[in-house]
Amino acid sequence: MLGPLILGIWMSGVIIASFLYMPATQGLGEMGRIIVYHVPAAWIAVLAYLMAMINSVGYLRRGQLHLDRQAQVNAELGTVFCLLATVTGAIWSRGAWGQYWNWDPRQTSIAVLLMIYAAYFVLRSAIDDPDRRARLSAVYAILAFFTVPFLVFIVPRIYFSLHPDLINLADRSFDMDSRMLVVFLASLAGFTGLYVWLYNLQIRLENLAYRLEMKRGE
């Protein structure tokens, strides 16, 4: 029980610090504070989707059903954090660009990412047999993973985007205030902890549900 308690205190600290300790950013002003929530959420979404992909490949190689449950939980968590990143991004976009949604390349790519996983969940819900569901959804996830990087990683770099880049590629430096950096990194750690905690909870739940189903089936 100690873990969630520490996590709760840590995240509360990050929230308070993001408003009181952290200075307003240059150029973006008060809107810049959202970086403490938006970027970590996007980072966790990428991490969870990557884990889902690794689990899917693992399932196709070894055929163990628990890997499919892990892939499912990771895809679900990834989608939750991806939604958070989309919403915080839209709020920021309203403040900085004047519109909630304007199909900036970054917004396009995150919308496509959400649609892929929405389709992934539709596919899962369409199949009853667990083995078949695991195999087909893994194939779909990997297929999407191969084809979509075009949109997610290449397009925002080819077409002109208004999205600010954290890392300045020209001189390889972070342009961030030191106090801001501290809060940002603390938030990143907090979000990662949150992901690990949620993942463990969900996986325990899924495993119990699976065992219950097995017991009923006997």
């Binding site: 496509v112 078949r132 949109l151």
Partner: protein, 227 residues
Amino acid sequence: MEIRLLPWLRQSLAVLRKDLRIEFRTRYAYSALIMFAITTLVTVSFSVGGFVLDADITAALLWIILFFSAMAGLARTFVHEEETGTVTALKMAAQPEPVLIGKYLFNLTLLFSLAVLIVPLFLVMLNQTVLLPGALIAVILLGCLGLAGASTILAAIVAKAGAKSSLMTVLAFPVLLPLLFAAISATRVAFAGGLPQAIAADLLMLFFYDGIVVVASLLLFEYVWNE
């Protein structure tokens, strides 16, 4: 996975021949594809009336018609095998990869014959001029290659998932979005004219997309096909 090119090619062509023969007996998939495309085209043309549209809009309309026609007609290849119970025989007769290639070639044949008919009709009905005809042909060719590639593997997934017809469009849309973006932007240039550089990047992207889809399908198809 063992790669022996000649037997693969022979088996693929055999699968293609078989599918073409079945198709010629009923002409069901082809008529469905054509009728779907014509219905959509007539609806679009009718609702637009006498207006002359921007190349931006007509390029998007052309690809919307092609995309939804492909979704309506190309899912059938594998669903038909499941319905008639010929899957087992096909599994015994050929390796998984040649089956995929054969079905891909079959879908490609369908899609090309659709494009040959529907694209000129589209240009006539919407009064669209084409300033770069060569570029348009290249875009249609590359676009159809990718559309058929993604549809074939997804059709296999949908057939195993119990052939729910709405599933195909849902699954295909996000996977095909990169292709649609590039194809629409290249078609716009082909319609309205522009510098060759403007179209080269999109054509290159279509080319790589086609390659990636086919390679990914070949790697993954075994897991869909064998149970």
